[in-house]
């Protein structure tokens, strides 16, 4: 059977900041949704269904907040779905929304993801002890640092690579008006001199805690034809999951990530991702995950990812720009971070990314991961309607 082609015709996000004391949770999400509608030149009445995602409810202390947010998102009288797949949720949420259009169940769908981290403390929200289960230790950094160390040992990467990524992403963020961190005086030396938090991860190589929301309007072929601005088209999308802990798990390059990318590339007809993809928005909450994911996503051979980073390939003016928006390292409203990756990929192929636009970007990958590097969600978007 043939699927309906899915187009992204509206994108909105908030200016991400450490604390939005001026708005409620409802006010925050409505801001992003209203911007996405304005971008698409549509109204609330044009939306058939709402798909919302966020990371754990404990971050704001609201259980199943979609119930409370139904009014703010114009969902009253409509279907509303709430997705939660840990850190990958922003990506998964967009994919669930895309499936509603692809399956021809709905024609125009609003999808949104948010986090208002200032309402709590994510570090300890992720560290609740549970008997007989492996906790996430001291926040996410405590969980991921040993896997970064394993990557360094396995590949022989010099310990300077992580700081290069952070320095690049923070400079890219200066070109993105919505990014949280705008460190105008950033230097490589400052990154390298920042305190060690979870060896080998330094303070400046970690993501901030942000308040923010991101929204997109997805629609069918007819909706795209009416769109006043260029649409981004979904060429492929997939989710993959694997268990948290088991003897055969490769935390450095999880099989679920490889399989997810392979599925997306198959759908999109990509055989050489390094050459055929023009921009990548990948989920890099700790700087070392850029070289790790370059390998996991097939942009570099095993053990070679750090060499691309070191050679400047992933810089905004390199031949495979990674995180032109500044990435998760510069903006991290956790539940929204995955959707921001997906939305920034779409902005690139629509030619709407402003100062951080990759010239002539035709195909871009949006990537998200979550849990103990066990949940993956990705989509590949293009400037042209897919042919298959």
């Amino acid at each position: 059977m043939s699927k309906e082609p899915v187009a992204i015709v509206g994108i909105g996000q908030t200016k991400h900041v450490a604390a939005r004391h001026d708005v409620s949770i409802a006010g925050l999400v409505r801001e992003a949704a209203a911007r996405a509608l304005a971008d698409a030149e549509l109204t609330w009445a044009d939306v058939d269904a709402v798909v919302i995602g966020k990371a754990p409810d404990f971050f704001e202390g609201v259980m199943m907040p979609e119930l409370y947010l139904a009014d703010a998102l114009g969902a009253v009288g409509k279907p509303m779905l709430r997705v939660h797949t840990a850190g990958s949720v922003g990506g998964s949420t967009a994919l669930v929304a895309a499936n509603l259009v692809a399956a021809r169940v709905h024609r125009t769908v609003l999808t949104l993801a948010f986090e208002k981290q200032s309402e709590s403390n994510a570090m300890w929200g992720l560290s609740l002890p549970v008997p007989f289960q492996q906790p996430l230790l001291a926040g996410a950094g405590g969980f991921f640092a040993p896997h970064v160390r394993a990557y360094m040992r396995r590949t022989g990467a010099p310990d300077t690579v992580g700081s290069l990524v952070a320095y690049k992403d923070r400079r890219n963020a200066l070109k993105n008006p919505y990014a949280h961190l705008h460190e105008h005086d950033i230097t490589l030396e400052k990154v390298q001199a920042s305190p060690m938090l979870w060896d080998p991860i330094r303070y400046s190589e970690t993501c901030p805690s942000s308040d923010g929301a991101c929204a997109m309007i997805l629609t069918d072929r007819a909706g795209a034809a009416r769109s006043p601005k260029p649409a981004a088209w979904v060429h492929g999308g997939a989710m993959r999951s694997e268990p948290t802990l088991f003897a055969g798990k490769d935390f450095v390059s999880p099989q679920a990530g490889k399989d997810c990318a392979a599925d997306v590339y198959r759908q999109a007809g990509i055989t050489d991702p390094r050459r055929e993809i023009d921009a990548v928005e990948m989920y890099v909450p700790f700087s070392w995950y850029e070289p790790m994911w370059l390998e996991n996503l097939g942009f570099a051979a095993e053990g070679e990812g750090w060499k691309l980073t070191e050679a400047g390939v992933t810089e905004l003016d390199g031949d495979l720009p990674v995180n032109p928006s500044g990435g998760v390292l510069s903006t991290n409203p956790i539940g929204a971070s995955g959707m921001i990756r997906f939305a920034e990929a779409a902005l690139q192929v629509r030619g709407q990314a402003g100062e951080h636009q990759v010239p002539g970007a035709r195909r871009a990958l949006g990537h998200a991961y979550g849990g103990g590097a066990q949940f993956f969600a990705m989509w590949l978007v293009g400037a042209q309607e897919p042919t298959s």
């Binding site: 059977m1 699927k3 409620s24 990371a55 754990p56 409810d57 404990f58 971050f59 704001e60 202390g61 609201v62 259980m63 199943m64 907040p65 979609e66 119930l67 409370y68 947010l69 139904a70 009014d71 969902a75 009253v76 009288g77 409509k78 279907p79 509303m80 779905l81 709430r82 997705v83 939660h84 797949t85 840990a86 998964s92 669930v96 499936n99 692809a102 399956a103 169940v105 929200g125 992720l126 609740l128 549970v130 289960q133 997939a238 989710m239 993959r240 999951s241 694997e242 268990p243 948290t244 802990l245 088991f246 999880p254 099989q255 679920a256 997810c260 979550g370 849990g371 066990q374 949940f375």
Partner: protein
């Protein structure tokens, strides 16, 4: 069947026994036997399933990302195509049904679970209310349901004796349900919050449910009498109780209309009505006559494992079709205070 691109059916359903406490079991230990049972019914292995989706709540588990652990119970290796809703499993089934409609999967495993026993679910549910204006007042789930019940009585739509009859009928029906938590005659009991008595309120308990979906001829191969989902839709209403007429459920009626409930008579209705008064509201919204067998499983008044109780309604309706006890059934799931969000599915057996 022209409503959707593909024919999709519930081909298997399994559930745990629903218990007041399961202190000795982790969530993984609760979920695993039910998953094994539902897969065994189809002969499929976890790795052969096209898409897996679950429903649960971090707030019941008392920790962030609680569903990451239950995924271990699925045995997701090699990696699987999988997703999760922080909602009742009925909505996980909806997501899975959409996935099958795209053609990207032919089968789906859907599961849901909840352990309410470690805390006071009555208090925990207050945390799903408007966090600025309502939640700080801690109005609990029974109190809110009592407001709804009183509104119904004031409107002349029911009376306390009629509510008691709903409770009695549900628990009487549950005598035939080995998984139910409360079975057989129960006294109407003392007032919990006027006008609701013990018999009008659901038990607090722990439980798991799982369903396998399959498309087209594959469904016919996996199940002798597939329960075809000929319609499914869900709608949400305003959150604030002051903005709603609590004696009606327009979202249920709209979802039912979109799912095709009113296009032909149904013989069975499995309604997710945790309080006796909510059955009155739902009967009206769905236009159910006295000929319809309502909650032959005993419904949520006999067992109400949070996050699974809605999926169980779909499973119970499907199981009746599998057994040949129903030809056309409606299944309903709800979420939020006083029936704020409602899902309606129509399940049909092949004409025989």
């Amino acid at each position: 069947m022209a409503r959707y691109a593909r024919e999709v059916a519930v081909v298997a359903f399994a559930q745990s026994d629903h218990l007041r406490r399961t202190d000795e079991l982790s969530e993984v230990e609760m979920v695993m036997p039910v998953l094994h049972q539902v897969l065994a019914a189809t002969g499929l292995k976890a790795g052969e399933i096209g898409f897996t989706c679950s429903g649960s709540s971090d707030y019941l588990a008392g920790r962030a990302f609680s569903f990451t652990m239950t995924l271990d119970g699925v045995g997701a290796w090699p990696p699987i195509s999988e997703s999760h809703v922080e909602m009742d499993g009925a909505w996980a089934l909806y997501e899975a049904w959409v996935k099958i409609q795209t053609g990207e999967a032919d089968t789906a495993l859907v599961y849901a679970y909840g352990k309410s026993s470690p805390g006071s679910v009555r208090d925990v549910l207050t945390r799903q209310l408007d966090p600025y204006y309502v939640a700080p007042l801690w109005p609990d789930a029974v109190a809110l349901a009592a407001l709804q019940a009183q509104a119904l009585i004031d409107a002349g739509e029911t009376e306390e004796s009629a509510l008691a009859a709903v409770g009695a009928r549900s628990r009487d029906a549950a005598t035939a349900n080995p998984h139910a938590q409360l079975r057989g005659p129960v006294p109407q009991g003392d007032y919990q919050v006027r006008p609701l008595r013990t018999g009008d309120c659901p038990p607090v308990g722990d439980g798991v449910a799982a369903v396998v979906l399959a498309a087209g001829d594959l469904a016919r191969r996996l199940c002798e009498r597939p329960a075809w989902i000929t319609g499914i839709d869900h709608r949400i209403e305003a959150h604030s109780l002051g903005l709603r007429d609590l004696t009606d459920s327009p979202s249920t009626r709209l979802a039912a209309e979109r799912a095709g409930v009113f296009e032909a008579p149904v013989d069975t209705a499995e309604l997710h009505a945790p309080f006796s008064s909510q059955e009155i509201v739902l009967r009206k919204a769905l236009g159910l006559t006295d000929e319809v067998s309502v909650n032959p499983s005993g419904g949520a008044l006999a067992a109400n494992p949070m996050m699974a109780a809605g999926l169980i309604r779909i499973g119970e309706a499907a199981a009746r079709i599998h057994r040949g006890a129903s030809r056309r059934a409606v299944a309903h799931a709800t979420s939020g205070p006083c029936l704020q969000q409602n899902l309606v599915a129509v399940l049909e057996g092949d004409a025989r």
